[in-house]
Each structure stands twice: as structure tokens, then as C-alpha cells.
């Protein structure tokens, strides 16, 4: 059975794939078409209810079409999730390898570095970077990627150490595999299931963190439509127009949930021992 088949046999896998596909489709569609210009303000058309004036989800105080903003915001969320995940993966794997397969004194130093960085809250790191380089999606993504990358490093380090102590790594060394080959053929594939879960969690947390940073004013520029920006804009009118925070909130929750479930389903689907078990 292939990994893809195994993935789509699980309801959680199907849901996760659907969320990711939905996110990609929304993002692509928003590049070429949205019902209204998501950034156009039109105070005459403000506070419209859903299904009025051609606005599927209504408009906010400034007349922004909420559905268009939601579509365009998917772009921002997807970009954040993927880029932060890639940065976290690179940072995490590099640090984990530097802490394990190098001579002991280098490894010990790297472990301490990881411990120090882990004590540093991701959002605080992002705010400091934003203060220095100016708030933008890029700064937010880099900060989120590095911040969560350190967490990935700690998990990956433990996993690598466990795999390094196994008989099959010893056996591979006994038949002449060098360190590079051990890393590529044995260490990385065998920590991949754990890494996939960690990285999908990182994607979900990145979406959440980006929304939070934007909400706090340190993330995406307010003129660029994003779910966090929508929440920040709408929260002042929460009691008057509760529906307006529901849509971006729901989008964040669904995305985070979908990415988490996808990661869990992927872990099972990529391990031949687990996917054969019913």
C-alpha cells in the first residue's frame, strides 16, 4: 500500500488534505479573482449584513468585502505556514545534527544554545525583530520559523540520539556506511514521522502566531488582507457585529485543526509498520 492511499483511508487524513487543498485553491483563486477588491474601502457600503448588496459575508465598518478579504487572507496564511515550516525545518534539523553527530564539545555547546533559545518566547522574538527591522510578514515569518525551529531541534535531537543507538545504525556502520550516509539513509528517514508531526504543528502554530502578531500590530501590514488583521480590525465591534470575527476566527481554527490532523495522519501513512496495521 502506498503512503498516499494510506493517508486517504483515514478520515483525519482526508480532512487534513481537504483543508490544505482548500487553502491552496483559495489562495490561487484570490490571485486572479475576488468578488470585490479586498482592499477597497467604501464607507457608504459599511456594516452590510451577509447576502446584501452582493456581499456574501457582508462588509465591515469601512465597507471591505469580508469574503474577498477572507480569500486574500488565505494567501497570507498559506505563505506564512509554508515559509515558517521550511525555516523551522532547516533550523531544527541543522541544530539537531550539530548537537548529535559532531564531536562532543561542539554538540554540548549546541545543546546549551538550543536550551537558551527555547526559553525565549516566539512572540517576543518576533516583536524584537519587528522593532529592529520593522513589522512585516517577512519578519514575522522569519521570527516564527526560527522560534519554532528551536523546538523542532530539541525534539529531533532526542529522536536522532535514539536512532543512533539502534542496532541497525551499528549494522550499517559495520558494513561500511560513513556518517553522511548514516544521516541520509537511516537517521533522517527514521525521525521523519516525528518530524512531520512537529512540522505540521509548526505550520499550524505559525498561522496562529502570524494572526496574533498582526492583531498586535507587529505582523502583516494592515493594508494587506490577512485573517489576523481582520480580527484586529473587527474586535472593537465584537458586541455589535459578532459575525465579523467569526469568519476569520473560523478560518484560523479550521486551518490549524486541518494541519494538525494532516500531520498525525501523515505520520501513520509514512511508516510502513503503522500503515499495515488496521
Amino acid at each position: 500500500m502506498t503512503a498516499l492511499k494510506a493517508l486517504l483511508r483515514r478520515p483525519t487524513g482526508v480532512f487534513g488534505v481537504a483543508v490544505v487543498v482548500g487553502l491552496v485553491v483559495f489562495s490561487l483563486v484570490s490571485l486572479v479573482w475576488t468578488p470585490f477588491d479586498p482592499t477597497a474601502t467604501n464607507p457608504d457600503q459599511g456594516w452590510l449584513l451577509p447576502f446584501s448588496g452582493g456581499h456574501l459575508l457582508g462588509t465591515d465598518r469601512l465597507g471591505h468585502d469580508q469574503f474577498s478579504q477572507l480569500l486574500a487572507g488565505a494567501r497570507e496564511a498559506l505563505l506564512t505556514a509554508v515559509l515558517a515550516m521550511v525555516i523551522a525545518a532547516v533550523v531544527g534539523i541543522a541544530l539537531a545534527l550539530a548537537a548529535t553527530v559532531t564531536p562532543r564539545w561542539i554538540g554540548a555547546t549546541v545543546v546549551q544554545l538550543i536550551d537558551i533559545l527555547i526559553a525565549f518566547p516566539v512572540l517576543l522574538l518576533a516583536m524584537i525583530l519587528a522593532a529592529v527591522y520593522g513589522g512585516s510578514t517577512t519578519t514575522a515569518v522569519v521570527a516564527i520559523g526560527i522560534g519554532f525551529g528551536v523546538n523542532v531541534a530539541r525534539v529531533a535531537r532526542g529522536e536522532i540520539n535514539a536512532v543512533r543507538g539502534t542496532d541497525y545504525v551499528l549494522a550499517a556502520q559495520a558494513c561500511g556506511a560513513n556518517t553522511g550516509r548514516i544521516i541520509r539513509k537511516h537517521l533522517l528517514p527514521n525521525i521523519a514521522p516525528t518530524l512531520i508531526v512537529q512540522l505540521s504543528l509548526t505550520m499550524a502554530l505559525a498561522v496562529l502566531a502570524e494572526a496574533a502578531l498582526t492583531y498586535l500590530g507587529y505582523g502583516t501590514n494592515p493594508n494587506t488582507p490577512s485573517w489576523g488583521g481582520m480580527l484586529a480590525e473587527q474586535q472593537a465591534y465584537l458586541s455589535a457585529r459578532p459575525l465579523l470575527v467569526i469568519w476569520p476566527g473560523l478560518a484560523v481554527v479550521l486551518t490549524v485543526l486541518g494541519l494538525n490532523l494532516l500531520g498525525d495522519a501523515l505520520r501513520v501513512a509514512t511508516d510502513p509498520r503503522l500503515r499495515d496495521a488496521r
Binding site: 541497525y168 551499528l170 556502520q173 559495520a174 558494513c175 561500511g176 556506511a177 560513513n178 510502513p272
Partner: protein, 265 residues
């Protein structure tokens, strides 16, 4: 001249002496047994011989393979020798194979490493190797994952991997301890046949004298990190022996004839 010559081998973990001045030699085409209780330093001696002791161990003495000193060699140089000139079969066939790698890939790994085989040639060789160790349905088995094989089949794979490059010396570290008794005999016979066919020398490590007797004619006995006796199997039944050796003989008799209660009958 002997092929594998270990002289005054000493292994220390911190202050703890785990192998204490062990010396023995393994001749060309010879099958030598190494026996001792768990913790006697057998496995560590074997790992030292192939240069795979953990980083924190400090090793002194000499390990010569075909006249070439291995102790103190660089990792790079050792990687070229391992699998090609000296190879090892491990105790636990359940854990000695990468669970995420198909059997065929693992079978051909030493050949790809040392002979630079293309992936296509490697696939053909994997089937050939599976055939050589008597695995059923080799075409299917090379595509299987380790968990789909039985313990005995997995140990056959381990033997095929170790012997793929036709090494001069094969070290077998308790290769049958984890297997059923019926499977044990098959694996021992296979090991014996293949080693003879290839003209390799075998260092067979075990704690079970009964197993040893069917494979080797000469053995060394280890206890508490020291080599306490070197003897022929045939001489075990009579004459003066080290107390550790006598204890092993009694244990083997007790296992074979429980009604004798392990006395020197």
C-alpha cells in the same frame, strides 16, 4: 600468518576495565568460538575488532587484520574496510535492520558502498543474495519491509548483508540467541556453509556451548574481561580446565540432560 590478530586488547569505560589484556589469533579459513557469560567482554572485544566501540571507550593494544593495524585508524579508512574485509552479524535480527528500508536496498547496501554498483545492478544482486541465503520467493522478499519477515528470515538477511562483499573475516555476535531452537540449527548450518564456500574466517561469539560445538573446533573462554582459557572443543570433556570453562560445560550438560542435574557424570 593469522588473518585477525588481537594482542593485549584493553578497553576502558572511564575507570572501569571491561576488556583486560585479551590476545588471540584467527587463522585463514578458521572458525574460532568465543564464549563467556554476559558481561564477560565478548561483544566489546568484537566491536573493538571492527572499530565500532562507543566514543567514550578508550582502547589500547593491537588489532591487526591481514597484517594491517586497525586501532587508531581514521573513521574514513575504517569505513572502507568494514563490510568489505571484515563484517559482522548481530544478535537481534529484529532490530538490526532499518524498519523503513526495503529488504532489497539493505541487502545491496554493502555492494553499493564498496563496489559502486548502480541501483539497477544492485537490485539484481539483492535477488541473487536473497537466493544465496535461501530466502523464499526472493523477487517478492526484496520488496518487503523487515517487519513482514520472520526472525529467521531476517537473520538470513543479516548474514547475506555481512557476506555480500565476501569479507576475509566474519564476526557473528550471538547470531542465533534470539531465534527459536528449530530455526537456530538452520541458521547455524547456513552460516557454516557460506563461510566455508567463501573461504572466510569466522569468529563466533556465544554464551551457549551447545551452539558453539556445532560450528567451531577451537574456542577461547572469556570471564570478567580476561581471556581465561584457549582450548579445542574435543578437549573439553576431560583434563584440567579453568573453573569458568568447567562451569560452562556443566551448564551445557544440564541443559542437554536435565536428569543429570548438571553434575560431572
Amino acid at each position: 600468518m593469522s588473518l585477525l590478530e588481537i594482542t593485549d586488547l584493553t578497553v576502558l569505560f572511564g575507570q572501569k576495565l571491561v576488556v583486560d589484556g585479551v590476545s588471540f589469533a584467527l587463522g585463514q579459513g578458521e572458525r574460532l568460538g568465543m564464549i563467556g557469560e554476559s558481561g564477560s567482554g565478548k561483544s566489546l572485544t568484537a566491536l573493538a575488532a571492527i572499530g565500532l566501540l562507543p566514543e567514550e571507550a578508550s582502547v589500547t593494544g593491537s588489532v591487526k587484520l591481514d597484517g594491517h593495524e586497525l586501532l587508531g585508524e581514521s573513521d574514513r579508512a575504517l569505513a572502507k574496510i568494514r563490510g568489505e574485509r571484515i563484517a559482522m552479524v548481530f544478535q537481534e535480527p529484529l532490530t538490526a535492520l532499518n524498519p523503513l528500508m526495503r529488504i532489497g536496498k539493505q541487502l545491496a547496501e554493502p555492494l553499493r558502498l564498496h563496489r559502486g554498483l548502480s541501483s539497477k545492478a544492485a537490485r539484481a544482486m539483492a535477488i541473487e543474495l536473497a537466493n544465496r541465503v535461501g530466502l523464499p520467493d526472493p523477487d517478492r522478499i526484496v520488496r518487503a519491509y523487515p517487519h513482514q519477515l520472520s526472525g529467521g528470515q531476517r537473520q538470513r538477511v543479516g548474514i547475506a548483508i555481512a557476506l555480500a562483499c565476501e569479507p576475509l573475516v566474519l564476526i557473528a555476535d550471538e547470531p542465533t540467541t534470539a531465534l527459536d531452537v528449530t530455526v537456530q540449527a538452520e541458521i547455524l548450518a547456513l552460516l557454516r556453509d557460506l563461510v566455508d564456500q567463501q573461504g572466510a574466517s569466522l569468529l563466533f561469539i556465544t554464551h551457549d556451548l551447545a551452539v558453539l560445538a556445532s560450528v567451531v573446533s577451537r574456542l577461547v573462554v572469556l570471564a570478567e574481561g580476561k581471556l581465561v582459557e584457549e582450548t579445542d572443543i574435543a578437549a573439553l570433556g576431560h583434563g584440567e580446565h579453568d573453573p569458568h570453562t568447567s562451569a560452562l560445560v556443566r551448564a551445557a550438560r544440564a541443559a542437554a540432560f536435565p536428569e543429570l542435574g548438571g553434575t560431572d557424570a
